[in-house]
Subunit: 298 residues, 2 copies
């Protein structure tokens, strides 16, 4: 089993296809890396690129793409709805297989140093890679955006973790870090009453005394040919707070209102382990090991 | 995602390490194939070899190993406790990933023809690859073993599916086929009363009106530091009869006797899909697709 990390860099270009293509091409060209998704957004003027690969290969691909973005995006010109501080706005590494969070933190640190030294771009470290506690959350680093940070970067409290205490003339600054895989998970309720979904969302979200690694809202969606109330969830650490626990809690809370759970859905990707954990839980599996999964043996 | 089959050939040699090694080496040498397990049994005088690989590579490895076994094993000399008809006794192909049962049947048919033509060994097709309904079950093909088949092979009803209607002078005959992956699955009960396990086993096994693809017995085992009754199960087709259905049924039947299920265990390997099906069932997942599993995208 090879070590595998995911990397999801965000670049501040969502409008010029040739620029997006040139950046993405830097990822494609690196051996040991596989491009999974490219999601440009014109109004945000931003593109989210997703790839997986061996740690060192992923780092190389991220560096090359960042270098290309610095050449092709001029932050003095860039405008868009999404907050940003640089041409490469943020680069998170995510452990997927046989890789610890500590290894991803080390990888983020190496990349941050490399970007600072070779490209002369100031770099901030965030989330699990943060060296300064107040820099864990991305919005705190991004405060004032490109324009604001340009003047504030020389202040001691905004000094970058690596690189010069002044913005790169065109590429601005960049944030690099490590975080857990985020699973987008929705649970549909057999009611159209969105207030029930909102109450249940409050019962599971960290901010309201719920699970530490759960962000949740109650919304109304079209599903199964009608309007249903949905608890829409970001599972920001599926090992810390597993899917089955959230599902069972939502089921129990819904019963409080006499409402059934119709079903749930995973939006986009999930690491296999998140679903193996579900199977282990419900089958009450004893001593199950990942290496018993046949596909993993190849 | 590459196509993947499993192949579990059984050879009639469990005592001479150098012969086992020479046969296994034929598997190792084929590119696109990975050897997973080699289980020799001296009293059976038999070795069970497990490997996975791309369909054509797996077929090649099986052919090469069969050829080597024909050179090194003389059925006129071979003795052992396990019933057998040839040097290579049986070769089943098992679909694992992105491969249908029909493809495995076709693969078995190609291999059977190749063994018959190139090695002049008579070959019978069994299980899902059987062309003659009475040849689905291995014991029916193996009736009379090597010694008995030697005289009976010339009878019309025992004519091989491919190859000469006489035994190969040293290698005997071979059985080739396709079957589903077999999952060895045990469920432990919170009681030492083995009769309860036996009654529950009867409620789920096909032979007693239970699930079509379930073979089960009630036994007594040491687990959790004490003697517990266990329902020990062979899931012979985890898609036809899924794990969750068997687990839930055992749980319900146990409740009939006021007994709880302590836990369950998967012995050895399982295809990932068997556990994904469990997660899908319990989370009531809507529209989940295999390609959402991150590891599968590499």
């Amino acid at each position: 089993m090879a070590k595998l990390v995911e990397c999801v860099p965000n670049f501040s270009e969502g409008r010029r296809p040739e620029v997006i293509e040139a950046i993405v091409d830097e990822v494609r060209k690196v051996e040991g890396v596989k491009l999974l998704d490219v999601k440009p957004d014109a109004s945000h003027n931003r593109v989210v690129v997703t790839f997986v690969g061996e740690p060192q290969a992923a780092k190389q691909a991220a560096f090359n793409a960042c270098k290309k973005a610095a050449e092709l995006i001029d932050m003095e010109q860039q405008q868009g709805e999404h907050p940003r501080i640089g041409a490469t706005d943020v680069i998170p590494f995510i452990p997927v297989k046989e890789v610890t969070m500590e290894e991803c933190v080390a990888l983020a640190d190496e990349l941050a140093r490399e970007i600072a030294e070779k490209l002369e771009i100031p770099v901030y470290l965030y989330e699990d890679a943060a060296k300064i506690p107040t820099r864990r959350a991305l919005p705190d680093i991004r405060k004032g955006q490109y324009e604001g940070l340009k003047t504030e970067i020389s202040k001691p409290e905004r000094k970058p973790d690596y690189g010069p205490a002044r913005m790169h003339p065109s590429a601005g600054a960049t944030v690099v870090g490590a975080r857990q895989f985020l699973i987008a998970y929705n649970i549909n309720l057999d009611t159209s009453d969105v207030n029930i979904a909102k109450k249940i969302a409050n019962s599971i979200r960290e901010a309201k005394g719920g699970f530490k690694y759960v962000r949740a809202m109650g919304i109304s969606v079209e599903a199964h040919g009608r309007e249903v109330a949905q608890v829409t969830i970001n599972m920001v650490n599926y090992q810390g707070t597993p899917l089955f626990r959230v599902f069972e809690t939502v089921k129990n809370e819904a019963a409080r209102y006499g409402v059934n759970v119709i079903g749930s859905e995973i939006i986009g990707m999930t690491p296999m382990q998140a679903l193996l954990d579900v199977a282990e839980y419900y089958l009450r599996l004893d001593g199950f090991e990942r290496k018993q999964v046949l596909e993993d043996s190849l």
